[in-house]
């Protein structure tokens, strides 16, 4: 791929990045983070133990998630690709620095009661 004339991407495909540099080349979240989806809610715990081993991006996430935010929002505010944010979050989940909505509530089960709440909420905006 050293020949610049045969690049397969173009402008519409988006910017070129080296995203894994941020997570020491890791391309998969730790097991603690493998269930993370776009809308999983993340919240920092009040007491964060030993911050010494954390990267700047980890600390930024802890700061962002003082109020609950989705994985997608964290990625957007951090200007980092989703997969990178999932890796960073998996570190924090494993350390116990953040908590997430559990598997059962990550995607709320769709029932009448839930839909009614959403309907009322949308009408109220």
């Amino acid at each position: 791929m050293s020949n610049s004339s045969d690049w397969w991407y173009d402008e519409a495909a988006g910017p070129m990045v080296r995203p894994y540099a941020m997570v020491s080349g890791r391309t998969r979240p730790k097991p603690a983070g493998e269930d993370l989806t776009l809308t999983t809610q993340v919240r920092s715990l009040r007491t964060t133990t030993d911050q010494g081993t954390l990267a700047v991006e980890h600390l930024e996430i802890i700061k962002l998630c003082r109020k609950p935010l989705s994985v997608a929002e964290v990625a957007a505010y951090l200007h980092a690709p989703l997969v990178v944010v999932k890796v960073l979050l998996s570190d924090l989940i494993q350390r116990g620095d953040v908590i997430t909505s559990g598997p059962a509530t990550t995607v709320a089960p769709v029932d009448m009661n839930l839909l009614q709440k959403v309907l009322d909420g949308v009408r109220a905006i």
């Binding site: 990045v17 715990l45 957007a76 990178v84 997430t100 709320a108 769709v110 959403v118 009322d120």
Partner: protein, 202 residues
């Protein structure tokens, strides 16, 4: 995955339970440039955010990428907005990537969605066919919203329904993606449609 009830140090310290809301999502699909992000922005409580998924992860099995892993990679942008329903529930609105080559990403977006909007533009009706087909096949409740740009009011909803070959059971509404009330009405139709479907199945 750690739940709120975790006994990890710090969780709920001092008897105080830290609330982590649950979330629901509605997908806004349609062709490139049809007004998806405009619609999301019209109803979102935040300026639509953009997040990026890496093509190498999402499309691992795509042959074209062979040999480029570990070098550089490209990204697919997703625009989304948020409506906080209450402290325990947040609604997210996700715009699908418009380019056809990013269809594989739609699956992750569609999983768990309470419903979808297929936004179409009268000038390029065919751009909506793929999205309609996608949600029909997956049984996800959706409404077709025709974005009426200036000067494109010359069709009735019935004419649009025939042109798009949409079943009578699928709601079809005319809207203005720039207008908050109009987009609210579209979302209300999506949720009501999802409720009707649930009612029929029960």
């Amino acid at each position: 995955m750690v739940s709120v009830q975790s006994d990890r140090p710090g969780a709920g310290q001092g008897g105080e339970e830290l609330l982590v809301p649950s979330s629901v999502k509605i997908v806004v699909a349609g062709g490139f440039g049809v007004g998806k992000t405009t619609m999301v922005g019209a109803v979102s409580e935040i300026t639509p955010l953009r997040t990026e998924e890496l093509l190498t992860e999402a499309g691992e099995e795509i042959d074209d990428l062979y040999g480029v892993e570990g070098k550089t990679t490209t990204t697919v942008a997703l625009d989304f907005g948020r409506i906080t329903i209450n402290p325990e529930l947040v609604l997210y609105l996700f715009g699908t990537p418009g380019q056809d080559r990013f269809w594989f990403l739609w699956d992750e977006l569609a999983i768990g969605a309470i419903g979808a909007v297929v936004l179409v533009d009268t000038r390029r009706l065919d751009a909506g066919f793929g999205a309609i087909d996608f949600f029909e096949r997956r049984g996800i409740p959706f409404v077709v919203a025709v974005n009426c740009f200036q000067g494109s009011h010359s069709y009735t909803a019935e004419e649009m329904r025939v042109a798009l070959d949409v079943a009578d059971t699928v709601p079809l509404v005319l809207c203005d993606a720039r207008d908050r009330e109009s987009c609210k009405a579209v979302l209300v139709r999506v949720i009501e449609h999802a409720m009707n479907r649930l009612d029929v199945m029960a």
